[in-house]
Symmetry: C2
């Protein structure tokens, strides 16, 4: 059932500092097995795609710092499938570069570009959606995004507004909305016109390179000449550089149990809770007079917690973090302070 | 300067569950080096007495479970100096039993009985007080307690009220007051008539055995016949069984920087604090919007804590405890729950 023209690029270069101290500089979120299932997020992503795409057509973009982690966690990949970004840039240069790479292997390639750190619960629906999307972009020169039917007024996700124009189940995109205020998110969920932006893209390699030529010619021509120009590419995301500007962006409506656990708060929202709204991940917990906390400690350890509400308690290696679980900005400050005051050993 | 009639009994059999998870069933408080000084509390106690008492006259009472810990931490003791209580009983049987043991070695012995888990800051003043007390009990058939001049209305300590009757610097005891309410403690501190009960006793071996014969004849006769009767002795403390009832109890007024860190709250009270009243012991801490907490984590670890007030945060081995620092009773419940629900591995 696999099609040899189908390719996948898993983006595995992120830092994920918002999950400190669970994620660390040398062990970002995508390499963690958050729920103790036995497979890290990037492994789960790979597992999903290898049921759809020939393994030799799966590529992982990352950077030198995480090369060994990728090799260790994904031993089925050979070295040529690990695309090491010469410099840390944003997604637009990384995707253009991977696109050129794949075009040289197969100029008819249909490519899925996917984050490495998202959760997907309904595997059959996911596979069906991906195959349908690949078929769409194989036959139509469109840039396709997977949109997820929202089930709650999430303020941590970006939204895609649909246009009325339609090709079968695929809708043209009218607008992109960054993380909205709650009042807007509530309207979005009600309206049937807004979908979550999953960050999963599908397109034919010719279509995406044509879009780069038109909208980001600097990147198009620089990387067309080879990767030595990578460092001089602008630091721009694919969303901002291409998707928000191109006239041929479509969204496919999907519902496959998707979650981008971008923050501790987001993880709390989706995780199973006890009667008092507490989430305990991995190790043992005893909680007394506690409400709405998320406690993440290693297997084999015990946390006893009294009289906390709305906190994150995370213990990993040499760091214990106790903070308000909804104060995302604070965690960046903590990581930065730890770095400045105490050096590399805790970040 | 040492007197071969002088003996010391260090009581080293306590469990110390109030300091869980820092203390554990197999590592009670007296064996911990709380402040990272390099010597545990029982080692510090031994170090203090060996400057006053011949090492061969120092005994440690403990029980089978802690025998190896005592040998390991106090290698200067030979096995005959470790008195293993046949059964866990309270201080009255333990002291009677040790008294018989020492009387068999030296019927003129003057004995100091001392807790193994207290802090003493002023070593010179301490030595001077002990020598003075030993001289007193060598020449006078009294039961002597060391009373500590209170510096604050501590509600976690017992108090001794002085009688007017006086022999030099030694006052007869009028009454014992268990841990008082704060309003009473405040009056006590003001009055000059109340001293903290340090739990350190001095007496001649004949005097204490005479007191047992008079006030606790059951123990006196049972243990006079040998240790095989130990298990049938009543579970009674020396304070309740002897000191509160005897007519010849004196208190020596002392001031040598004494503290019984019986609880986390007590440790908090005496420890140096930052500008926001936080105490950090051992490892690194970064605190944000935190007041009046005590944070105890191992060396080499970092705790980042936001927005807590009045909490204990203690991490040791496989247990993390976060609870109100003044809720002493709760810690016993936590230990018990951990035992009942999860077995021995966390207690």
């Amino acid at each position: 059932m696999t099609n040899n023209n189908n390719y996948c690029v898993i983006m595995g270069g992120g830092i994920g500092s918002r999950f400190w101290p669970y994620s660390r500089k040398n062990l970002p979120k995508q390499f963690l097995d958050f729920f103790g299932t036995g497979r890290s997020l990037i492994q789960q992503t790979f597992d999903r795609y290898k049921k759809i795409i020939p393994v030799e057509n799966i590529f992982v973009t990352t950077n030198e710092a995480y090369k060994e982690l990728v090799k260790e966690q994904l031993p089925e990949l050979n070295d040529s499938q690990i695309l090491l970004e010469p410099t840390r840039r944003n997604t637009a240069p990384a995707i253009a570069w991977a696109s050129y790479h794949i075009k040289n292997l197969n100029p008819e390639a249909n490519i899925i570009v996917a984050p490495s750190d998202h959760l997907i619960m309904k595997e059959d629906e996911f596979r069906e959606a991906i195959l349908k999307g690949l078929d769409f972009v194989a036959h139509s020169p469109q840039l396709l995004m997977l949109g997820i039917k929202p089930n709650r007024p999430e303020t941590g996700y970006g939204y895609i507004q649909l246009n009325e124009e339609q090709q079968g189940d695929f809708y043209k995109v009218r607008a992109f909305i960054e993380k909205p205020e709650l009042e807007f998110a509530k309207v979005f969920v009600e309206s049937d016109e807004f979908y979550w932006n999953s960050g999963i893209f599908l397109w034919n390699v010719q279509t995406i390179l044509a879009a780069f030529r038109e909208l980001m010619p600097e990147i198009y021509y620089k990387l067309g000449d080879g990767e030595e120009n990578y460092a001089s590419c602008p630091n721009i995301s694919i969303d901002y550089g291409i998707m928000e500007k191109a006239g041929n962006v479509f969204v496919q409506l999907c519902d496959f149990g998707w979650a981008d656990l971008g923050t501790w708060g987001a993880m709390y929202d989706v995780a199973p809770k006890d009667a008092n709204g507490n989430v305990a991940v991995n190790g043992n917990s005893l909680m007394y007079d506690c409400r709405n906390n998320i406690v993440v400690i290693p297997e084999g350890k015990l946390a006893v917690i009294q009289d906390l509400e709305g906190y994150l308690v995370a213990l990993r290696d040499n760091v214990l973090l106790i903070c308000k679980k909804d104060d995302e900005a604070a965690i960046r400050k903590f990581v930065n302070d730890a770095q400045v005051k105490l050096g590399d050993k805790f970040v």
